[in-house]
């Protein structure tokens, strides 16, 4: 059986890239290009599956989705680089810093202090980076 053909001009791929940009902001393109330079398949799946398929469904608003993702990455403990992306994404989608910290704090009950502390200090470094960048995080235009 032949390997599937991937068309970056397809509605599916375009929908995924649009969604990534909404969440990750200006860094979205470089993020995908970096992955694509090693594995076009990985990049294709990354764009089309979580972003085009999952995040575009109307059942949950983006802010709630991102807080759930922050919760998930917090309890995993090792997902620090991805957590950084999604803390920024949560802020871009309308969550306040206080809400992000609250979700991480709640997770103490489900993963204990080591993983939650890792996540809290990650949030702290992101907030400091944002203050340094002087970029007020606003929710994306609908």
């Amino acid at each position: 059986m032949s390997t599937p053909v991937h068309d970056e001009n397809s509605e599916l791929y375009q929908r995924g890239m649009e969604e990534i940009c909404k969440q990750l902001g200006p860094m979205a393109d470089a993020y995908i290009q970096n992955i694509k330079s090693l594995s076009p398949e990985f990049a294709w799946v990354n764009v089309t599956f979580p972003f085009a398929e999952l995040y575009t469904r109307n059942v949950l608003d983006l802010k709630t989705r991102e807080l759930c993702t922050v919760a998930a990455l917090t309890v995993q403990g090792f997902s620090i680089p991805e957590l950084k992306l999604h803390i920024r994404a949560a802020l871009r989608c309308g969550a306040s810093r206080e809400e992000v910290v609250e979700v991480i704090t709640q997770m103490i009950a489900y993963c204990g202090f080591p993983a939650a502390t890792n996540a809290l200090l990650t949030a702290k470094s992101i907030f400091e980076d944002l203050d340094g960048e002087g970029t007020p995080q606003k929710p994306p235009a609908k």
Copy 2:
């Protein structure tokens, strides 16, 4: 140093029990008594720490908190008994079944299919139990 004294009539403990009942409903008392029969310390911490301390804070609404907890327990993969409690809790706090399933589906991207499928089938069994019980899940009175 002496072991801390625990007063079940304290404001802290009462606040925690009230919060557990709001989330877990009629099963809350039996749940805590079961734990307490083996370890009063474990039960005390269970009541006072996540429920009295964390869930009563006003920063996030209960529905969002419960969806975040469902996300966290889904990615852990092994937390099936606790996941059952919190799927019921999410429904009691105003989440729809569709929203619970959506959070679990979103988690495929963060934990892969094995853990997400475990969670989806757990949700299915809870929904079937609820249908059997004939108990329409309503959000708790504020």
Copy 3:
């Protein structure tokens, strides 16, 4: 943005279902229908993403892929239902029972005895089921 439209007659979905059947055998259809009854989105992603996208690529043969998946599910420790599917799939794709057991044994070094023992006893129960079913596992026709 509207939710993506899913066409089960599409080449992508058909390719995924064909691949699932090759790996899981007669149980494939019931497996997907069970998931679909609760969440059509979950089922769609399950068919199209790992099976249509990943397993059909020619870079690795199916037997090697399945042994890698057995390794992965062994170290996770909690993925017992999925491990059962993939031990059967590995045998269907040409791996011997001895090779499946060898991969699990090798994993002791990477996940310790608790997770590896869980996997070994899971393999044992699958082998006993297969002996009971009287179904000699043959590699699928190319």
Copy 4:
């Protein structure tokens, strides 16, 4: 290169079996035979590596070792069958039920409530089994 030869009469294997019996008691033999029936290699490594190599070293007493193992299996969350063995082993090596419960309770801080509650309820079922068996657990003779 040829596969290593394993001699069950060797000092190493005998030392390991003696140590397993000290910890697991009468069930030790059946436990190893069950594993050996599927994979002699797995059984050999299980006997010679943790038991002959690690547990026989004099640096730590057996009770402390078993409490550390209970702690480790508690935080893993999915290691319930192995946890059952080691709760019994801890009691056989001189730990009290209260001490076992205390270690599990302490672990709430490092793995959160889901994994700790799984372990607590596992301990409870072991204690009930022991009461039913009418076997007062004594420390092994030195």
Copy 5:
């Protein structure tokens, strides 16, 4: 319902801070202040729950508790920053370096080599730091 009031002069909080200082030594205060600067709630729970509630109970001696915590953090694999704190704490509470290394070595059997090697190299770096600091680690005064 209003958010709980936290009184840092309370017996509970003072007990927790005293216990943290006993375990972590001079770095205790900076550790808690760093967390508190981002989330006073997280810091309050960190002081009052594991330290005031759990570690002050007389059922287990502090050295055994710390070795259990080292075991738990070793198998988690990702808890390197917390592991550093607790290796130092174990030494302060009377464990020898040899005993800390022994617990980590024992954990190979429960988590495999990757997590155990991470922990061993973490212990090595702590021991080198301590040698550089010229601070002989003594058990705390009772």
Copy 6:
């Protein structure tokens, strides 16, 4: 009972060291010496158990074993240092870079994107190191 005696001239140890060298190449000796400087027991077990016992068995070829190990370390998420060793080992044992990347990509389905992305970027850094070292990776002589 006395602690086991370890003889580095034994057939077992020599077999293990030979296997490590075959897999890890020139860095093998320094790797083991580093561990041995802190814990001779840990180093002994590391050489004799996975390498002398497991990897020398003829049931699976080394390339398949290494791809399974890459799969396992990918899904664990936190095993980055060990993953680096085994990506190099896989290449030394005859796997192509494309095959290593394919295994990691397949793992998205079993561990989600955070762990798989960590592994992909780790592979990328290894490939860049190898290009910088100018060492064409060849399969070891049989």
